[in-house]
C-alpha cells in the first residue's frame, strides 16, 4: 500500500470534506504539524486569545448557522481551557467538533510536558470522544465525529490527536458513510402514539404547547406554528426555544419558568394538557417539581428517549425528530378536526388573555437609566432583526424578556450550563457565521470581563459585534439573590464601577475597538444608532441602576404559581370547585 498522506493532511482534508469553512482555536507544540497544513487550507483560521473563547465562538457559530462548529486547541492546558466551552455546548445540545493535540503516544501516561487526559476529563461532557492512536483511523474518526455531532440530539464530540499520529502516514480513504453500530437515533415518531396524542389534543379543554431548543434544532418552526394556529393553542417557550414561535404572535404567552411571564407560569399550573416539544422540563422551568402542572396530562416529543419522563412523567411519550413528528401530528389533527364535533377553548382562551393583559412584563420607569429600557431600545432600533447573544445573569433574563424574537437561531444564550463569559466570544462566532447580520451581545459588567480579551479577536477578524454592557457594578443576579434570600449581605458581588473596575471605554479603545459610555436615558437611542453605524466592534458601557431586579421571579424550589413581585396567584377561575383554596 502506498502511503500518500500525513496524519495532519488527512485531518485537514477530512475537515474540508465535511464542509468546514471556519475553525476557531490556538496552536501549540503538539499541533504544529496540523497548523502547518492548515496554513495552506481554504478553511478560515480564527485565532482566539483563549481556548475558552474558541469553543464559545464555535458554539455561537453553530447555533446561528445550524452547522457544526469546530474548535482546536493544543494538549494539556489548551484542552482543559476548552472544557467550559465543551460543557456549555453539551448542556445546550450544540453540534461541535473539538480537536485537541495530544502528546506522542509513547509519552501518554507518563505525565509528559503539557499532557492531560483529555478524553478522560471530557468524558462526562461530550456526546462521544476519541483518542486516535492509529493514523489510519483518522479519516473515519473525523467523519464519525461530525456525524455524531450533528445528528440525533446534537452535541460536542472531541477528537484527541497525538503528535506522532499527526506526523504519521496513511493511505487516505474516506468511507461513504460512517459505521456506528451502537448509534441509531429514532427520527420517525410512533404512529400509534401520534394518534393518541392527537386524540388528547382534541379532547383537551385547556391545552398549552411548551416548546424548547430541540424544536429549533429540528427546524420545526413552521410545524409549531401550524400546530398552534390550526388548533388554537397558546405557546410558551423556554429560554432555549426563544424564536421558534414568534413572540409577537397573538398565541404566544412568552417564556415560562423562573423569570418567565406570569401568564405562562399560571397557564402551566392550570393546563390540562402540556404538549412538550424538544424541551426537557429543567428545574428552572418546573420550579418545585411535586407541584408542577398538577392537572396536566403530558405529551412529550423528544429525539432523546432519556429525556422522556426523566423529570416529569409523560403519559404520551413520542420519541422522534420534533419537526417530523409534528408534521405527522398536524396531518392527523387535520383529519380529526374535520370529523370532530365542535371544540372550544373559549373559557381557557379568555383566561389567558386576561392574564396576558393583567400581567405584562414591565418595569418601573425611573429617573435613572434602567437596564430593561436599554434592551427595549435595542429591540426597537433593530426592529427585532438583530442576532442577540447574551451573557449569563440579569442581562440574560432582561434580554430574554424584552428582546422579542420572531425567528429561530437568532437568540444565542448559555441556557443549561449558565456560562458567564459565553456571550461575547459566541457573538464573534455568530457574526462570522452570519456576516450580513447585525449582532449584539447583551452583557453584564461581570460577565464581559471574563472573556473580554476576545476584543482582540473581534478587531483582528473585523467582527463588528455591538456589546451592550448593562453595567450595574455588581454580579447582579447573585446580588439579587443575596438581597432576596440572604438578608442583603452583598458578599463578594460588588464590582465597584466607580473606583476599582476598569474603564470599559478605555479598555475597548486599547484593543482598537470603539468605546462609549452612556449614563443619560435620553442618550441611549443615539448611542445605539451610532454603534450600529460604526464599522467596528463597539463596547457600550451603559451605567444602569445598580440595584434593579429581574421580575417576576419564582424563587428557587418554589412552585410556579408562587411568583415574587406584587401579586399572588389569582383564585382559580376554570375550576370553581377549588376556589376555596388560596393557591390551587
Amino acid at each position: 500500500m502506498i502511503l500518500d498522506t500525513t496524519g495532519a493532511q488527512a485531518l485537514v482534508r477530512s475537515l474540508e470534506e465535511e464542509g468546514v469553512e471556519i475553525i476557531f482555536g490556538i496552536p501549540g507544540g503538539v499541533l504544529l504539524p496540523v497548523f502547518d497544513v492548515l496554513y495552506n487550507s481554504k478553511i478560515r483560521k480564527v485565532l482566539t486569545r483563549h481556548e475558552q473563547g474558541a469553543a464559545h465562538a464555535a458554539d455561537g457559530y453553530a447555533r446561528v448557522t445550524g452547522r457544526v462548529g469546530v474548535c482546536i486547541a493544543t494538549s494539556g492546558p489548551g484542552a482543559t481551557n476548552l472544557v467550559t466551552g465543551i460543557a456549555n455546548a453539551y448542556m445546550d445540545s450544540v453540534p461541535m467538533v473539538a480537536i485537541t493535540g495530544q502528546v506522542a503516544t509513547n509519552l501518554i501516561g507518563t505525565d509528559a510536558f503539557q499532557e492531560a487526559d483529555t478524553t478522560g476529563i471530557t468524558m462526562p461532557i461530550v456526546k462521544h470522544n476519541y483518542l486516535v492512536k492509529d493514523v489510519a483511523e483518522l479519516p473515519d474518526v473525523v467523519q464519525e465525529a461530525f456525524y455524531l455531532a450533528r445528528t440525533g440530539r446534537p452535541g460536542p464530540v472531541l477528537v484527541d490527536v497525538p503528535v506522532d499520529v499527526s506526523r504519521g502516514e496513511l493511505k487516505y480513504h474516506r468511507r461513504d458513510e460512517p459505521v456506528l453500530r451502537g448509534y441509531k437515533p429514532t427520527f420517525k415518531g410512533h404512529k400509534k402514539q401520534i394518534r393518541i396524542a392527537a386524540e388528547a389534543i382534541m379532547e383537551a379543554s385547556s391545552p398549552i404547547i411548551y416548546v424548547g431548543g430541540g424544536a429549533i434544532t429540528s427546524h420545526a418552526a413552521p410545524e409549531v406554528k401550524k400546530l398552534a394556529q390550526e388548533n388554537d393553542i397558546y405557546v410558551t417557550h423556554t429560554l432555549m426555544g426563544k424564536g421558534i414561535f414568534p413572540e409577537t404572535h397573538p398565541l404566544s404567552v412568552g417564556m415560562l419558568g423562573m423569570h418567565g411571564t406570569r401568564c405562562a407560569n399560571y397557564a402551566m399550573c392550570e393546563t390540562d394538557l402540556i404538549i412538550a416539544v424538544g424541551a426537557r422540563f429543567d428545574d428552572r422551568i418546573t420550579g418545585k417539581l411535586s407541584e408542577f402542572a398538577p392537572k396536566a396530562k403530558v405529551i412529550h416529543i423528544d429525539i432523546d428517549p432519556a429525556e422522556i419522563s426523566k423529570n416529569v412523567k409523560a403519559q404520551i411519550p413520542i420519541v422522534g425528530d420534533a419537526g417530523q413528528v409534528l408534521k405527522e401530528l398536524n396531518a392527523v389533527l387535520k383529519e380529526a378536526r374535520e370529523e370532530a364535533k365542535e371544540r372550544d377553548h373559549g373559557d381557557w382562551n379568555t383566561l389567558i388573555e386576561e392574564w396576558k393583559e393583567k400581567y405584562p412584563l414591565t418595569y418601573e420607569r425611573g429617573p435613572g437609566l434602567k437596564p430593561q429600557y436599554v434592551v427595549e431600545k435595542i429591540y426597537e432600533i433593530t426592529g427585532g432583526e438583530a442576532i442577540v447573544c447574551t451573557e449569563v445573569g440579569q442581562n440574560q433574563m432582561w434580554a430574554a424578556q424584552f428582546y422579542k424574537m420572531d425567528r429561530p437561531r437568532r437568540f444565542v444564550t448559555s441556557g443549561g450550563l449558565g456560562t458567564m463569559g459565553f456571550g461575547f466570544p459566541a457573538s464573534i462566532g455568530a457574526q462570522l457565521g452570519c456576516p450580513e447580520d447585525l449582532v449584539f451581545d447583551i452583557a453584564g459588567d461581570g460577565s464581559f470581563l471574563m472573556t473580554m480579551q476576545e476584543l482582540s479577536t473581534a478587531v483582528l477578524e473585523n467582527a463588528q459585534v455591538k456589546v451592550a454592557v448593562l453595567n450595574n457594578g455588581y454580579l447582579g443576579m447573585v446580588r439579587q439573590w443575596q438581597q432576596l434570600f440572604y438578608n442583603k449581605t452583598y458578599s463578594c458581588t460588588c464590582l465597584d464601577r466607580e473606583k476599582e473596575s476598569p474603564d470599559l471605554v478605555a479598555l475597548a479603545e486599547a484593543f482598537g475597538a470603539k468605546g462609549m459610555r452612556i449614563t443619560d436615558p435620553d442618550l441611549v437611542e443615539p448611542a445605539i444608532v451610532e454603534a450600529i453605524e460604526s464599522e467596528c466592534p463597539v463596547v457600550m458601557d451603559f451605567r444602569v441602576d445598580q440595584e434593579e431586579n429581574v421580575y417576576p421571579m419564582v424563587a428557587p424550589g418554589a412552585p410556579l404559581y408562587d411568583m415574587i413581585g406584587d401579586m399572588l396567584y389569582p383564585v382559580d377561575k376554570i375550576h370553581p370547585e377549588k376556589a376555596e383554596e388560596p393557591f390551587l
Binding site: 478524553t119 468524558m123 432523546d304 428517549p305
Partner: protein, 158 residues
Amino acid sequence: MKHTLSVLVENKPGVLARVAELFARRGFNIDSLAVGTTQKPDISRMTIVVDVEEHSLEQVRKQLHKLVNIIEIMDLAPEVTVSREMLLVKIKVDSENRSEVIEIVDIFRGNIVDVSRDSIIVEVTGNVQKLGAFEELAKPYGIRELVRTGKVALPRGK
C-alpha cells in the same frame, strides 16, 4: 430492587470507563460488574447488577443507550435467566476440622484448588444465594481472603 443488565458493547478502549463514569455521575449504584469477551472478538458483554427502583432503571437503560459504543441492553428477568457467579475463598483449617470443611465443600459441589498446612482455597460456582449460603457456613472456621467474580448471566432459550 436488584436488576441484572446484560450489555453488549463494542470492544474499544475506554468503554468500561464510559460505563463506570455514567453510573457514578448519574448516581446509580453498581452491585457488581463483570466484563468479558463473547464469541465475536469485537464485542464484549458486561453483566451489570444495579440496585435501583423501576423509574431509575429506565433512566439507567436510556442513559446507557446513549453511549455510542453500546450495542444492546437486555434487562434479564430472573425467571428466564441462567446466572452464575464464582467465589474463591481461603478458609482457615487445621488437622481437626479439615475433613469437616471438605464435607461442606462437597455438598456445595465446590472444588478445593489449593491446600496448605493451615488453610485451603475453595472454588464454588452458583447463583448469588448459593454463594451467600456457603460463605455463611465457612465463616465460623475463619475466612482469610475472599473474592467473587460478580454475576454473569444469559437469557434462556431462543
